[in-house]
Point group: C2
Chain length 188, copies 2
């Protein structure tokens, strides 16, 4: 016999903690203000490396990480690199895939839906004439991005379609891409 | 005496290859059309993992990578995870840092500017009331992102400021964030 009941989870999320978090941020909206950060060093050519660790949220500096996350950007040979890592526009797809997935899982959990499987395939088109300044009319950056999601869950197809539309509307990375977000670049 | 002269490089980029690439894409603009891809599997809770390898560009499927790049998204405990990796909004900052850096380095190289050092610090603010659907008026995703760049190069401050403004306008990830880019999410 256990003295303590095991934590009740759905889709790998602790239901009591989810409930507490939502109640806390509902009652004290200022706690929902987060600041995320990264620092990056250029190595050579198309290679550079980021360190990610601290952030501010729920009213305090986070202290949960004992080491930096380190990720390396590179470029393939056709873009003058040596495949030192995925390139930045590919990392953006990774961020988008992860955010839409986590947003889907979180809101499914809140709705009482159990997900059995979830995977995505993303593709995005870019005309590099913009990047290389070969055509001033060319769009710079992704023209559009397509996400195909395969998902199996204990709900109807209609509930799944509604969940996916909701997740798209509430995914932070998806909305950073869909909406115009101001970026300030300053020399220090 | 070397039979072959070493490749002439600036900022780690091969100048002859840079010239060839720009001439090739100038003469055949259709070669500048790229498609980048990622596939992602949900693991559990806020953990999911991407594989990145193939892409289409310069008129062909790229064959240069012998293995997938694999990156793991996670969430910190205050966002119901176990720090399995940086979270998606942090990966987006990594992508943005890398893209602005590589765009700066590439266009500096084309202008004949040698960079000695380049590093960036990024911070972005997000109100999670949007993500959690606690306030329908709250912005979903980054409200704004700030990039501080420390750069040393063999040119004047005025040339540096012009280079940075140009890099911001020509960075694919920066423009994917700054401009509204359509994202299509479909269930398959």
């Amino acid at each position: 016999m256990n003295a303590q009941a095991p934590a009740l989870t759905r889709n790998g999320l602790d239901l009591a903690q989810l409930d507490q978090t939502i109640n806390l941020l509902s009652n004290q909206p200022s706690l929902a203000q987060f600041e995320f950060r990264a620092s990056n060093q250029w190595i050579n050519g198309g290679e550079n490396r980021s360190q990610i660790r601290g952030f501010y949220g729920v009213g305090a500096e986070d202290q949960s990480r004992s080491a930096d996350f380190v990720y390396t950007n590179g470029e393939p040979p056709v873009l003058l690199g040596h495949n030192e890592g995925a390139n930045p526009v590919e990392y953006l797809l990774h961020a988008l895939a992860g955010c839409v997935t986590t947003t889907t899982v979180l809101h499914a959990t809140a709705r009482g839906i159990t997900i059995r499987k979830l995977s995505t395939r993303l593709s995005g088109t870019i005309n590099l004439e913009g990047f290389l300044n070969l055509d001033p009319q060319a769009t710079v950056g992704y023209e559009s991005i397509r996400i195909e999601m395969a998902i199996e869950a204990d709900c109807s197809d209609q509930e799944l379609d509604e969940l996916l539309a909701f997740a798209k509307d509430h995914s932070p990375v998806c909305n950073t891409v869909c909406r115009p977000v101001p970026v300030m670049l300053e020399r220090v």
